[in-house]
Amino acid sequence: MSPETTIVAALVTPLIGAVGIALTGRLPNLRESVTLVTAGVLAVLVWSLVPQVMAGARPELLVTTMLGGLSIAFEIEPLGMLFGALAASLWIVNSIYSIGYMRGNDEKHQTRFYVCFAIAIFAALGVAFAGNLLTLFVFYEVLTISTYPLVSHKGDPATVRSARVYLGILLSTSIGLLLPAMIWTYAEAGTLDFTAGGILGDVAGPALGVLLGLYAFGIGKAALMPVHRWLPSAMVAPTPVSALLHAVAVVKAGVFTVLKVVVYVFGLDTLTEAGAQQWLVWVSGGTVVLASLIAMTKDNLKARLAYSTVSQLSYIVLGAALATASGVIGAAMHIATHAAGKITLFFCAGAIYTALHRTEVSELRGLGRTMPFTFAAFTVGAISIIGLPPFGGAWSKWFLTLGALEAGELFAVAVLMVSSLLNIVYLLQIPLLAFFRAPASGSVPEGVQEAPLPCLIAIGITSLLCVVLFFGADPLYELTRLLPSS
């Protein structure tokens, strides 16, 4: 298959899957098979592009040209390859998990759930492979809208209210800030194509800073404070949604876009020469610490994980704001390593809910004996997020710190260190409570009581992935090293 055909196939596969899922809605087993087969085919297609991209090829596909040189076009470069491969691969694991979770909790509207999920994956791939800002924007909006039914899945008034916050913030930031930023960019550069070295070389320093602000806050999915509120709101969704979308596809689409804009629209040199990114270091650094502090105050497990996500996303924005080679490599790697760690944590939270219907951290005391596998996996995910070996998170933090030192940003170094300490406090506290504290009397069931098997399989796979990303990080490093750093 030629690369162009592969791109088309990769984009069309989830859509065909969505139709298949809708048609087989009456037969749950067949429907879930369709999801799994689609996810498998998609992963094969996307991964088949990896060797070419690593060899330096940049597969392109022009769909149509519109007014003034604008077009709908795809071009796969290392960063998009990384994000695309990540989303496609984790979709398989997440689908396995969803089967256990959705059935274990007797959720309603399961067909709608799987259909929207497939469309969301389609949109995430579109974001990953987009060859210009306009294409990216279109898929970014499709992603927002296709995930709304997933967030409001429960359908009760409180859920719908939260879902409205989700949609409101994401739509208004993208139309109110990102779209004008795009138009401004076009007015200055005459193009919206992603170009190595950027397209905004002629813009004066202060204007560059303002434009970067429009992008940083306009890309609401990156959850930079103060536009992070949608993420905790989105936690009303079923846990598989929180896991894949709010640890991987949606939020990563956000930080991916920030990174992509910094590297391919602004260009690292343009930014550093003008010093236009300096304020973003402060804001993202502030978000890292503040969100961690808020996470410590949350007793609800998913809310705590949500604020942890806000904090971790700003690592990536911080890496982009450092605008150094190592910073960008670290940020790109963190997209993958944080995904593996955070999806594990969410899977565990969902498993605890499915098995024991507990949602608060304080209710988890002494449950280590009851759900040993889940809490072991939780520990793995937590340590990976904290950034300690032998888990993947160590590498991304390594490069981020290196990038901060290269840029001479001692503030950023301090932020990374403080944040690691805070992570230890609010994440490791949970397995410690479960394993080493005596349970409140009579509240713990006898014997082992784990979540359904599909959930456990999924948790096992992602925990393993955290380890693999540490020992087998070389391909990831090679891929991210291909990003244009000057």
Partner: protein, 496 residues
């Protein structure tokens, strides 16, 4: 005889002459069929005319063989060709779409008169944009207005009469203002031919009466165009007119007035009146901004779907007038292309509403709760056209907004504020479109509400044709932008 040379007059007389015949047809459904075929024929003429203009440039036609400026001249250039496409296209799709809906609302008894009036509106509007004579234009303006009142008053709702009466009073004031302005110019120049007028004003020494004429003509036409704050007649007229007629009128009745406004201001006044550029910008920019901010804001709080879309039209007309007021090729291109794109999105939206009303018997939002499940195709088209109205990429609405915002950014510091205003208004559009989506998809049907099913296939087919047109013209912009760019260049070229 070569028919091609006579196309400009055919454009007008085909519907004009068929109208009395239609009024005599007493067989049920025959008036509708005759009107639809005639309208289709007019559309075919418009398409052919556009082809000729694109190939060979503007066409001039001397009525009755009297040479202009003494006789009446018909003049079709790129700008008028685009408007002819809008008018005849909107009429044809609304007629093809609306049979069942109009049968329900107007009934067979009044149908002959109704469809005759419809054809007169088409003839009048085509006349307005095709004529090159200022007084002849007034005559066509009156033909189309009077016939429009009949269309609106044909609705079964008694409140339609009140809405018509209001429209009639204000419409007459507007037309009279226009006539006073034309009279003043005639007094100073002795000509009614628009092209001749442009030449002769240059020789007029005392320009004060011309300035007064500019004031009368601008305000009169602004009233006809429902420019904020002269829009009071419009939301109710749209709300109470028969649904299919709203789809037609919303797409093109105000557009013809805007067309005349643009043509007069840019070709007759702008080149000769000193400071007229400042006057145009100073007059229109604040009103345009208020129009799209207030229009959109009111739409957010409106619970009647048709009135909501009416206020949204107030806002969209604001965009168009802003494009005129910035007086740059880019902005004017945006304004002209938005004439077309707005017609496309609004006729799709009103058609979707007509489908809903056809089944639910109401256009109040609470009565339509939960309709998305029973009428997925109708609501799908509504959402698509709604996205176009918001200006989402890949839809027609994006193209015009893109041009308008680029033009704003080009305009200087004030332009940034204007661009901000457009974006705020777009966000408000998100809010009111979303309100409909939420009611349709995420609320249950109210207790005891009428059982719904999908609209008839004939209505859906046309609705989707237009809705997909929004996507088509959002991607393939050769025709619309080609005509608009050429029109803007000609209009401003004459001005400088």
């Amino acid at each position: 005889m070569n028919l091609d040379a006579h196309l400009p007059i055919l454009q007008i007389i085909v519907p004009l002459m068929t109208a009395p015949v239609v009024s005599l047809l007493r067989v049920p459904s025959l008036p509708w069929a005759a009107a639809t075929v005639t309208s289709g024929l007019a559309f075919a003429v418009a398409v052919t005319l556009t082809g000729q203009v694109l190939a060979g440039g503007p066409m001039s036609y001397a009525l009755g063989g009297w040479v202009p400026p003494y006789g009446i001249e018909l003049y079709v250039d790129h700008f008028s060709a685009l408007l002819l496409l809008i008018i005849t296209g909107a009429s044809t799709v609304a007629l093809a779409f609306g049979k069942a809906s109009l049968d329900q609302e107007v009934g067979h008894e009044r149908a002959p008169m109704f469809y005759a009036a419809w054809l007169l509106v088409v003839a009048g509007l085509c006349g307005i944009v095709a004529t090159g004579d200022a007084f002849n234009l007034f005559v066509f303006l009156e033909i189309s207005s009077l016939a429009t009142y009949v269309l609106i008053a044909s609705a079964p709702d008694r409140r339609a009469l009140m809405a018509t009466f209001r429209y009639l009073i204000l419409g007459t004031v507007g037309a009279t203002f226009y006539l006073i302005g034309v009279g003043l110019i005639y007094m100073m120049t002795g000509t009614l031919n628009l092209a001749d007028m442009t030449d002769r004003i240059a020789e007029v020494g005392e320009l004060r009466p011309v300035l007064v004429a500019a004031g009368f003509i601008t305000v009169g036409l602004a009233l006809k165009a429902a420019m904020f704050p002269l829009h009071a007649w419009m939301p109710n007229a749209y709300t109470f007119a028969p649904h299919a007629a709203t789809a037609f009128l919303a797409a093109c009745s105000t557009k013809a007035a805007i067309y005349v406004l643009i043509r007069f201001d840019l070709t007759v006044f702008l080149p000769h009146l000193s400071d007229h550029a400042e006057q145009v910008s100073g007059f229109f920019i604040p009103l345009a901004v208020l129009a799209f901010l207030i229009g959109s804001a009111v739409a957010v709080f409106e619970r009647n779907l048709k009135r909501m879309l009416g206020y949204s039209s107030v806002a969209q007309i604001g965009y168009i007038l802003l494009g005129l007021a910035l007086l740059s090729p880019l902005a004017l291109t945006g304004a002209i292309v938005h004439l077309f794109n707005h017609a496309l999105m609004k006729s799709a939206l009103f058609m979707a509403v007509a489908c809903l009303a056809f089944r639910a018997g109401s256009v109040q939002l609470p009565d339509l709760a939960g309709c998305g499940r029973a009428m997925p195709l109708t609501m799908g088209a509504f959402v698509l056209a709604g996205l176009s109205m918001i200006g989402v990429p890949l839809t027609a609405g994006f193209v015009s907004k893109w041009y308008l915002i680029l033009a704003c950014l080009e305009y200087g510091p004030l332009g940034y504020v204007l661009a901000g205003g457009i974006l705020v208004s777009s966000l408000l559009a998100v809010a009111y479109v979303w309100k409909v989506v939420e009611a349709a998809y995420f609320q249950p049907r109210p207790e005891g509400a009428r059982e719904l099913r999908e609209a008839p296939p004939a209505m859906l087919a046309v609705l989707w044709l237009v809705a997909l047109g929004n996507v088509w013209f959002g991607i393939d912009t050769d025709l619309t932008l080609g005509l608009a760019e050429q029109a803007a260049a000609t209009l401003l070229g004459d001005g400088s």
